[in-house]
Amino acid sequence: MKKRDLITGILYMVFGVLCLAAALLRESRLEGVWWGFAGAGILPGAGMVCKYFYWNTPKNKERYKARLENEWIERHDELKTAVRDRAGRYAYTFGLLVLSFGMLLFCVLDVLDIMGNARLLVLCLGGCLLFQIVAGIVIFHQLMKQY
């Protein structure tokens, strides 16, 4: 592993410790957020540092090389890339359907007075739906410009 990975791990831990200090020393309504960031910084950072020292021992060097090679193959293999792209398309379409159905459901619940204040929720879902559609079209056209 590269020294850069060790430095990244240390920076994560430093960030986590700073957030932990903010959570412990200051009382605020954002305390939960500070605790969350502290955990998100310290634990992965510690993991990165441990991984750096583990994989850099002489007896693990060959295993690490093989592991890197396998990771490269998994990331760049053309069949898996094609399947991942197709899975992304299905997830995108399914996401649009879920958002649309969610909007309809909360509209009906609001009208029937089963759920109050659903209007904001419907507007948020509608915003997400619109954003996904527009983003999909814009990104498609941007990518097509390469060709």
Binding site: E69, W72, I73, H76, D77, E78, L79, K80
Partner: protein, 71 residues
């Protein structure tokens, strides 16, 4: 698309895993190519052809079913 990849691979005494590692692809890709479920990209087809030292046409057999009109 039919192909002779499995036949040529076995002639070289390689299993799918070893062959996949030599081409830097996954074993599933090799398996899918050999069973005809997946057609490799041009790049991979050329890599396979170079590996076996044979022209592409001798390895991959295109049997009609194209999406375009023939001249």
């Amino acid at each position: 698309m039919k192909n002779r990849v499995e036949q040529l691979r076995k002639a070289q005494g390689l299993n799918q895993d070893e062959f996949a590692k030599k081409l830097r692809v996954s074993r599933q890709t090799i398996s899918s190519i050999e069973t005809g479920k997946y057609n490799p990209s041009l790049e991979l087809a050329f890599a396979i052809s170079k590996f076996f030292g044979k022209p592409i046409e001798e390895i991959f057999i295109c049997e009609g079913g194209t999406n375009y009109e023939e001249a």
